[in-house]
Symmetry: C2
Subunit: 207 residues, 2 copies
Amino acid sequence: MKVVVPFKPINPKSRLSSVLSEGERKKFAELMLLDVVNVLRNLDLEIKVISTSKIDLDLHIDFLEDNRTLDECVNSELNDVPKAIIMSDLALLNPETVNRFLSCKEDVVIAPGRKGGTNMLLVRKKGFRVSYHYCSFLKHMKIAESAGFSYRVFDSFYSSVDIDEENDLLELLIHGEGKLSKAYLEELGFFIKFEKIPTLGRLRTKN
Amino acid sequence: MKVVVPFKPINPKSRLSSVLSEGERKKFAELMLLDVVNVLRNLDLEIKVISTSKIDLDLHIDFLEDNRTLDECVNSELNDVPKAIIMSDLALLNPETVNRFLSCKEDVVIAPGRKGGTNMLLVRKKGFRVSYHYCSFLKHMKIAESAGFSYRVFDSFYSSVDIDEENDLLELLIHGEGKLSKAYLEELGFFIKFEKIPTLGRLRTKN
């Protein structure tokens, strides 16, 4: 199976700017990409990272620079199917979840993120077109239906957690054992505050 | 399989008090309980609701009034295994997810919620004890390990969404097709605002 991982290296994860500097966000985003690529590499998939600009990482996999919008890039990729589109900020992914996802037989498989996102997408038939904003999850179901394609919503916690906001960092600390991105957060002083409902804490070791 | 659903009818869902009145929260919590019970009933499971006080609903299933703490109630129940503990606010549950959960063979199966919660728990061996606060997910893994029990983290988006906060209502509107609790939110005027990242809207039709 061919898997495409879109990546945006310039000013990434802007919704984390209240807790991470631009430099920290850049490194954090790269480490999440690495975490995702490491999972996919273990499964012997044909991986391609599509990035809006050059990146410094040596990923040892196919790399394409493409500064078109996310929708345009992915729609180009979907001219060649079957193909999976997996977001680069799914730091909690593991091989078992990705295998279960890729084993789904439907024409279109949608793994939802919070707030109506589409975190992983598997397309087996030509003619599907993506539209990633304004509640893409509901849109992608409608697009599959209109095209007469069979579709399934993929039920996974790990793929539902895209790391966008401060709250998501807590999920990475709780569930991200062994991940590079989790280790980096800890290096930056982040920790789990064990309150009745846990929250994110930060020890200011730097600056 | 025996399934226990703990329920707290007095001042429920207090973290939703900024968007729902006490009366609305009471009815909403009851409808979520009904949504959960309806899923379990379709699977022919032996269901028992344990409530901290009497409720007005006629659920046509076993009902136990028990005003001890959640931990005390559940630990009593775990003297008789195998047993599953499923929270009453998992409005997005469906039969496929519950079946997949109950099919796990490990001694202990933990379905995480956001913020370190334990939303569903399956215990097959005597001697496991719960502790539901201060990041119960991590605690329950450690408790299983200490007891020498095999355990698994159950990977499900639907069971990870416990409806506690305003953001969770958006998830119910997006994913809750056919649920009584979703219909009630719509009756109260809630809707999905289709912005670039969707948010929760409310049309004030009442008051």
